[in-house]
């Protein structure tokens, strides 16, 4: 623990509140009163733009850092502070990109956690009751801890998850697409804490996605809820399998199952061959796809003779069952029916209690893969048409179908413009027809008049002699 009044060996100097050096101002910090608009300018002694700015939770101090100078400034932000100069100037070893502050329970210590641009972080505990008149160069820095890490630290948060009062900090480490969250205990007040790569990896192996053997990339996969415009990481690997379901609309269950399993085995295979080059992977992928297509065409040939066309009776029952049990596979099978008459009849016969649920399922599927729009909009439109009377009576319909409305608006945004353009083009085309006809001769002009075109007589005709 550093005693107040002593300068830590790692830090060069701590200029004090009544510092007489006037630095070059290229960044400026102002404190603006929201009610009155009155401004107070602080002396920000660094060059380059500001990179971080944060008040302490007690509202008394303001911490700031620049995008060029390796310093962290802490100002007294109170209106009656007396001085506009920083009360703490803390040299840091990098450019700060993130900042978090906290005030201790008895309000005599402020804690600052800064995250560096490249890697690592720093942590300070500062005495809130600093001595303004202390000119010996040491405003009380009680603790200075450097957090070292080979992997970049993306962000930090003082306190533990859901517990702001914990003595440590939670940091997000590693790649931005798959961060690993680690709790760093700062209570020991060490000078330096080193976050080892192996610890982080081991940690992530246990917890990411809740599976014991998940690797760190798994963090991106399988979001629990998919709302409007949300993207799930898991859908990409099974594209091949589902597209196939879509194209072979009325294919047998066996076939879709087979295609799914073969799709899955493809992914596993590619994951196992993590060491292969891209070319090898592509080759193996294309080979397996070719096999898949062969099998598919063979089965399609045999099944086309045997496959019985579904009727609306069976589909209504199946959809009802699928919705009741939440069986997505069964629902997919039902949706694969592309026969317009069957879709219409099914939508008409569907029990009203299932309509909203079915609509929501359809919207979710549409959002997941907009390329299936042709099939799904058929279902959506017939459902909406046949059950309008019921739907208007549902109390919180607007909330439940917000996604659908947003999706439709988004898709129809360009429709009016396109139809206007189509109108203009039609007009132009008819003009072109008319002109070509009128050039052709009077007989043609008469003919065009006969087709509903009006002949326009020129007001004057100049003829060269």
């Amino acid at each position: 623990l550093l005693q107040p009044g002593k300068v830590p060996a790692t830090s060069s100097t701590y200029p004090v509140a009544n510092c007489s050096v006037v630095p070059r101002f290229s960044s400026s910090i102002k404190i603006i009163d929201i009610a009155t608009g009155r401004k107070r300018k602080l002396e920000a002694s660094f060059s380059g733009g500001i990179s971080t700015l944060a008040f302490t939770p007690c509202g008394r101090f303001l911490a700031a850092s620049s995008s060029r100078t390796r310093e962290l400034l802490v100002f007294d932000a109170r209106a009656d502070a007396g001085s506009d100069a920083p009360v703490f100037v803390l040299p840091v070893r990098g450019i700060l990109t993130g900042l978090d502050t906290r005030t201790s329970a008895n309000k005599d210590t402020i804690q600052v956690l800064g995250v560096f641009e490249d890697a690592g972080a720093c942590y300070f505990e500062l005495d809130a009751n600093y001595n303004k008149d202390d000119s010996t160069g040491a405003n009380s820095v009680r603790v200075e801890t450097s957090i070292m890490s080979k992997l970049p630290i993306i962000a930090g948060h003082l306190g533990n998850t859901g517990n702001r009062d914990a003595s440590g900090a939670v940091v997000a480490i590693g790649a931005k697409s798959s961060p690993v969250f680690k709790y760093v205990d700062l209570s020991a007040k060490q000078r330096e804490i080193v976050l080892h790569e192996s610890n982080i990896k081991a940690d992530s192996d246990v917890h990411v996605n809740g599976s014991a053997n998940g690797h760190s990339e798994g963090a991106l996969f399988a979001p629990e809820v998919l709302g409007p415009h949300e993207m799930g990481g898991k859908k990409r690997p099974v594209v091949g399998a589902e597209v196939e379901e879509e194209t072979n609309g009325q294919a047998q269950q066996k076939q879709s199952k087979k295609s799914k399993t073969s799709g899955d085995s493809m992914i596993v295979a590619s994951a196992d061959k993590g060491e292969q080059s891209l070319q090898d992977r592509l080759e193996s992928l294309s080979a397996s796809l070719a096999k898949l297509e062969e099998a598919e065409s063979a089965e399609a040939g045999s099944s086309s003779k045997v496959g019985a066309a579904p009727t609306s009776d069976s589909l209504v029952t199946l959809i009802d069952q699928a919705l009741q049990s939440g069986d997505d596979g069964l629902l997919e099978q039902c949706l694969a029916c592309a026969d317009a008459d069957v879709v219409e009849a099914t939508a008409r016969r569907l029990p009203t209690s299932r309509v909203v649920m079915f609509l929501r399922k359809l919207v979710a599927k549409f959002e997941k893969r907009p390329s299936r729009g042709v099939l799904l909009t058929q279902w959506l439109s017939s459902l909406l048409r046949h059950h309008t009377a019921y739907l208007v009576t549902v109390p919180d319909l607007a909330h439940q179908l917000a996604g659908l409305s947003q999706m439709l608006e988004q898709r129809l945004a360009s429709y009016s413009k396109l139809s206007a353009l189509a109108g203009r083009l039609d007009l132009l085309m008819s003009q072109v027809n008319y002109r070509s006809n009128s050039v052709g001769g009077a007989g043609d002009a008469l003919a065009s008049a006969g087709r509903g075109m009006q002949t326009i007589a020129p007001m004057q005709v100049y003829q060269e002699e």
Binding site: T52, L53, F55, G59, L62, N160, K176, A222, L226
Partner: protein, 154 residues
């Protein structure tokens, strides 16, 4: 806690990260799982410039405002998973540089490269007031949690 493109929520339970293609990814810190990701419809044409969390509670995950380079501020309601409000119209000249939620979370302060900070109502999207700043605009803002005072810096 704020960083250029990633930060923890006010209770440290959620971690948000804006990827370079302007997608918003949310992680549940306790379970270390990706919870949700949001994609704005203009995410490929306009990049994000700034974002801000509103205070959250246990039940309510709060709001997250994201400023885009076309001058629009999109406010996501994280509990409902929908866009709560879109503030401003697409004006390329007035790119938001920073966003700060008011203490009650009912309004946002948006700074631009121009010489003023505008306060918008989250509910209506209308301008409540505008504060004059220096000629060179504002890059970063911070709201004092105790007093109605805003720190603006460039």
């Amino acid at each position: 806690m704020s960083s250029h493109d990633s930060s923890f929520g006010s209770r440290g339970q959620i971690f948000a990260q804006l990827s370079s293609d302007s997608r918003l990814h949310l992680w549940d810190v306790a379970s270390k799982k990706a919870v949700k990701s949001y994609v704005d419809k203009n995410h490929l044409t306009h990049s994000f410039t700034c974002y801000s969390w509103s205070a959250s509670s246990k039940e309510n995950q709060g709001l997250l405002a994201v400023g885009f380079s076309d001058g629009v501020v999109v406010i996501w309601d994280l509990s409902r998973g929908v866009v709560a409000k879109t503030i401003g119209t697409a004006k390329e000249s007035e790119t938001p540089t920073d966003i700060v939620f008011s203490k009650d979370g009912k309004s946002v302060f948006v700074s631009t490269d121009r010489n003023e900070i505008a306060q918008y109502s989250v509910e209506t999207g209308g301008v409540l007031q505008s504060l004059k700043t220096g000629k060179k605009g504002v890059q970063k803002m911070a709201l004092n949690p105790k007093v109605d005072v805003l720190a603006a810096a460039r």
